[in-house]
């Protein structure tokens, strides 16, 4: 159980660190498609960490766990694709 507490703490530190990277990418990266790609990739990664380490989605029915990971990836990819299409004008 101590291992789980340490795991949750490590996940928290990781989430704070990659949140900062995402925020900085939006502010500092000049190439917009790279910045937006990084922002959505990091958002999906953060949600995956929350699903696995905080929510312990492995304890959910298997279909729901798969659906939630699929939803995360799907939203990130579609948002990026729609941003890309809009940028092409």
């Amino acid at each position: 159980m101590t291992g789980k507490i340490a795991g949750a703490r490590n996940a928290w530190l990781l989430l704070l660190a990659i949140s900062a990277v995402s925020f900085l990418a939006a502010e500092l990266v000049g190439e917009r498609h790279v910045a937006i790609g990084a922002i959505m990739l990091i958002a999906a990664a953060k949600i995956a960490v929350i699903l696995s380490r905080f929510m312990e989605v492995e304890r959910a029915p298997k279909a729901i766990g798969r659906y939630l990971y699929g939803w995360t990836i799907g939203v990130a990819v579609i948002v990026f694709a729609m941003w890309w299409v809009a940028a092409l004008g």
Binding site: M1, R9, W12, E27, I50, P61, W71, V79, M82, W83
Partner: protein
């Protein structure tokens, strides 16, 4: 690893995420027709405040996850204290959100200003309702097992609620991650 059969909370989370997912896609679809307006309006949002609030929810989520772990060990007093700590941290989110809304409304930016701000108030407003519901759940969980039930029944019931309430709170956190990315960061300079 023990699997739940089909607890209602997981179905609720899947459905709620689906609803928000549809809202995100409608937002992006509207944006495709008004890119300049959406980017210009996005610059009026305070991204550092949104980032700060993301960190607040992540920290609160961690404390709630910790409470859930110790609760399963039967350390209910520690779980209660961690729930209180999670609530205390999460209350900062509400203060920041109120400040943010006040900053927008005081310069005349309302739901009628343009399509971007219609989505801004709708997405953050619906999320805020989820947040407030979650705070009520955390407040109930911070009371510990019911003193009105036999001890064994109270503990079993508390554990079920602790797990379900924690899962709901993590959902509030993960929804904010997408809301923050889509509203605040995509249009940033």
């Amino acid at each position: 690893m023990r699997r739940e059969r089909a607890p209602a909370i997981w179905i609720f989370i899947a459905m709620d995420c689906t609803s928000f997912g549809v809202l995100f896609l409608v937002f992006m679809y509207e944006r495709m027709g008004q890119v300049a307006l959406f980017d210009e309006a996005s610059h009026l949002l305070n991204a550092p405040l949104g980032f700060f609030n993301a960190c607040v929810l992540i920290t609160s989520s961690w404390l709630v996850a910790w409470a859930n772990i110790v609760g399963r060990e039967g350390r209910f007093d520690e779980a209660r204290r961690l729930m209180l700590a999670g609530m205390a941290v999460a209350s900062i989110f509400l203060i920041v959100k109120v400040i943010e809304y006040y900053m927008k409304l005081s310069v005349g930016i309302t739901v009628k200003t343009n399509a971007f701000f219609l989505f801004y108030y709708a997405l953050t407003g619906v999320h805020l309702m989820h947040y407030l519901g979650g705070m009520v759940i955390l407040a109930i969980l911070a009371q510990g097992p019911s003193p009105y039930l036999p001890a064994a029944e109270a503990k079993a019931s508390y554990l079920r609620w602790l797990e379900g309430g924690s899962l709901y709170w993590h959902m509030v956190d993960l929804l904010w991650i997408f809301i923050f990315s889509i509203l605040y960061l995509i249009g940033a300079r």
